[in-house]
Every structure is written in C-alpha cells, then in structure tokens.
Amino acid sequence: MSEPVTVMNAPIRLDFEIGAGTAQSRYLKGLMEGKIRGQRCPVCKKVYLPPRGSCPTDGVPTEEEVEVAETGTVTTFCVVNIAFSDRAPEVPYVCGQVLLDGADTALLALVAGIKAEECRMGLRVKAVWMPRDEWKYSSENIKWFEPTGEPDADYDTYKEYL
C-alpha cells in the first residue's frame, strides 16, 4: 500500500523580455560610459539616483540629468551572512546605502575592501568599477564601493538621509 501523496511539484517556467524604460536606459547608458547620472526634479530640485523618470513626491517627470561623483558616504548598512542566490556575492558581505556626493537619494550597493566588522556608518567610499572590457548595461559595472581613506563623514551630514 503506497503512501498518500501530500506534496507535488508543479514546475512553472515563464519567459519575460524586460525593457529598462526610458529613465533607467539613460542611467545604464551612462554606466557604459563610466558615468553615474541621476535626474533632478524640476519642482523640489532633488537629484534622484538611480533615476526613475519621475519624482515620487511631486509626481512629475524628471528629465534633467545630473552627473554625480563616484565618491560618497555609507549612511547605513548590514552584514549579510546568508547565501541566497548564486548571483549574489560570497558571504559575509556588506550591503549598504551609499549616498554619493551630489545625489539626494542613496544607492543600494556592496561595500568591500574593508573587514565586515570594521564597516561603519559615515564611512567615506568610492566606486570600484569592473574591468572596462566587462562592462554591460547593468548596475553591476560598479563592482562595489571601497573606503577612500578620508575621515568618516560627520553624522550630521547624512542623518537626514536615513
């Protein structure tokens, strides 16, 4: 007498062809040129990075492109100890919010070149790019952010971005 069936596997496969959309396309093209470009809202004047084509608070299109620096501040972060995807980095790794100089929103990014336990809020970092010949239309062109060696940013300079 066989066991009753309690679980079945029903595999699903769906294929999607995803376009980046206008704003993200421009951002990705910038990354292919080694540039990090955000967009400024005509109403509140804030620079959004990555750009989304609209200002979420004013609900208007954001068209003005603004190049931001490759340097910035780690406003906050966590140390990830779970391997959840084969595309994700090796654990433990630091995943943080990086506020680049010139931008008004922080980017989600990897922080490397520093021991995980030494990472701290306010750490000044700069972008480390993948080798140029490996660039593609992806935010992965920026491998991660590494400490610049500058003194940590004062809490007051980034506390409003938390």
Binding site: A23, S25, G53, P61
Partner: protein, 350 residues
C-alpha cells in the same frame, strides 16, 4: 448611498509593445491628464486605488513602483487590488460612501508585451488539478465559444460580425492598438488560432494604462455641470472550475446586472469587457441588452487590451459617451478569471 460621479478619464495611446517606457512612465501622463481634465487639485485627492497584476512584469510589487507616478507625498490614503482596476474603482466608490472624502483617483495598468499573457493567465487555475496541465487561456476561451455556439444556435458568422464591427469601430478610437476595415467574411477567412477562435476574435497584446477620477458631494457641482453619475455598481463571482458552470451564460454578470439596476431604464450604450468576440454575445444576453444598444463603440478589448486596465477603460469609455456624445444611460462591464469567472457591472447616467 452617496452619489458618486466620474469627473475625469484618461487612457494611454496604447501600443502593441512600448519598448521605451516602463509602467511608471506609461502611467504618469495618464494620471496627470485624468486629474487635469477633472479639475481636482492633485494634492487634495482623498483616496487612491489601483489595480494591477505583478505577474505581467514577472516581479512582485509592481504596484509599489507605480506609486511614483502619483506623487504620494505627503502620505496618501491608498489601496490596491490585484484585480482589474474596475474593482479598484469599486473599492474607491465604497470608500467615498464613508462621507469623509470627496474625491478619488483610480488607475490601472498592464504591460502585456513582456511575457506571454495567455500562459501567465493559465496560472490563475487551480494549482493542483488544472494549472499543471497548462491549458492556455485562448484554448479555454475556445471551449466557452464552442459551448455558447452550440447552446445558443448562433454561428461563427455571428461572432465574426462582432469581431469585424469592433475592428471597424476601433479605427475611430485614437487610443486603440488594432483596427481595420474588416467584414465578417474577412474574419471567417482567417485561419483559426484555436477553433473556433480566429485572430480577429482574440485580443491584441497591448501595453497601456488608464485613470479615472471620482467625485462626490459638494465637490461635484464645483467641478462640472456634466457629471456622469454611477447609478449602480455590483460584482459577482462564479465557481472556479469551468466544468461546473454553464459556459453558455454568464450567471455572475446577470446577478451583478440585477443588483446594479441595469434593467430599470433604457440603455443607450454598453462597453463590455469581452476579450473574445463570443464573450460579447454572452455578456449582452446576461446584461439583458436589446438590439437598440450600441455595443462597444470604442472597439472594446478587441481594439486594445492592457490587461488590468481594460475593465476600467470600459467604464471610462462608457462615461465618455455620456459626457461628450449625448448618451443618457450606459452600462460598463469588467471581467476577469478563466471564461468570465468574475464580473462587475456599472450603470452610468448623465
């Protein structure tokens, strides 16, 4: 019940594949246009509700990103249904009954060009018994078409007439994505996709969005002297398994139509959410519509089918016929689920 009116409507110029823009970029001008047409100040909109389906884009929380199109700051009262936006309109209508708010923004969007929507919608089926067999939605629709034709005595020529008429009507709809000067013979000459359905009987893949502004109370006369009133709105769902229902009729549409009061007055125009030509005939029966009613003057879903916005667009199109084209009373209908499992009916009056 508090009287609620439609005071603004906008939809995108739909495309078969919008390769440049993402959902937010498609939605934003549509929302802005609907708000502008209504005359309501964006920051004073009381309630926002949207309808969408994550699976169309292949990522969860697509409605969250869509919020960027709306300018949700300061924080807004907002909700969302994972249903056609016609149900979001229903939720907004209910919310306005409370009496504390006088306006609502409703929107829906769907980019169906990125995946295969007929396969995606197969996943609406019972995950244990039906979905693993992968019956695609066109095949299921064909089953219903066959059942209807056999039971009603109507013929493929009758459905071809619907398809041809819709195609011709869509030509005067600047937002439609598919149209053409077709005759029933032209349609009958097409090779079936899944018999008895031919390409013209099936909806076009569409990327698009739509938005509607609702108003109630003292706000209405301040905005317009030609409001389109929602006189009745109701919805209903049927058992899931298509083997347990009579596919030749739409019981839930009939029930919703009765609750919404369709038959209490003469109907001039009907916009029904028929993704397939035979569905229009089934729905027309269920709504109790007679020959004098103008059916889907916009060309209907056969002209443009941005899934999750299609039902809302039926409401908007029906409202437009009243607001601009002299109709007095209209029915708008929305549907979702395999073989018209769930239906919503809305009666509009000028």
């Amino acid at each position: 019940m508090r009287d609620v009116a439609i005071v603004g409507f906008a939809q995108s110029k739909h495309l078969a594949a919008d390769t440049h823009r993402n959902e937010v970029e498609i939605l934003m001008p549509v929302v802005a246009e609907a708000i502008e047409r209504s005359g309501v100040d964006r920051k004073s909109i009381g309630f926002t509700c949207s309808g969408s389906c994550d699976y169309l884009i292949g990522a969860p929380f697509s409605f969250v990103q869509a919020l960027d199109a709306v300018g949700a700051w300061p924080p807004i009262q907002e909700s969302h249904v994972e249903m056609d936006a016609a149900w979001a309109l229903y939720e907004a209508w209910v919310r306005l009954q409370h009496g504390d708010l006088d306006s609502a923004l409703v929107y829906g969007f769907g980019k169906t060009s990125m995946g295969d929507v007929t396969e995606i919608m197969t996943l609406q089926l019972d995950p244990y018994y039906l979905a693993p067999l992968w019956p695609d939605t066109v095949s299921l629709a064909a089953l219903q078409a066959r059942a209807y034709l056999e039971a009603s005595g109507k013929s493929e020529r009758d459905t071809a007439e619907v398809a041809a008429r819709s195609s011709r009507d869509a030509a005067s709809n600047r937002n439609a994505v598919r149209s053409g000067d077709k005759s029933a013979d032209d349609v009958l000459a097409e090779s079936p996709v899944v018999s008895p359905l031919r390409p013209s009987d099936c909806p076009p893949v569409t990327d698009g969005a739509a938005a509607v502004i609702l108003a109630a109370g003292d706000l209405v006369p301040r905005l317009t002297d030609r409001p389109v009133w929602i006189r009745g709105i109701a919805h209903n769902v049927e058992p899931h398994s298509i083997g347990t229902r009579d596919l030749a009729q739409s019981r839930s549409t009939r029930a919703a139509a009765e609750k919404a009061g369709v038959s209490t007055g003469k109907i001039d125009v009907a916009e029904v959410h028929a993704q397939y030509s035979h569905e229009e005939l089934i729905l027309s029966d269920a709504l109790g519509l007679t020959n004098g009613v103008t059916m889907n003057p916009s060309g209907g879903a056969l002209g443009a089918n941005p899934v999750m916005a299609t039902g809302l667009i039926r409401v908007g199109e029906a409202a437009s016929r009243i607001a601009s084209d002299g109709a007095s009373r209209a029915v708008a209908h929305a549907a979702q689920g395999p073989c018209l499992q769930q239906n919503l009916v809305c009666v509009l009056e000028g």
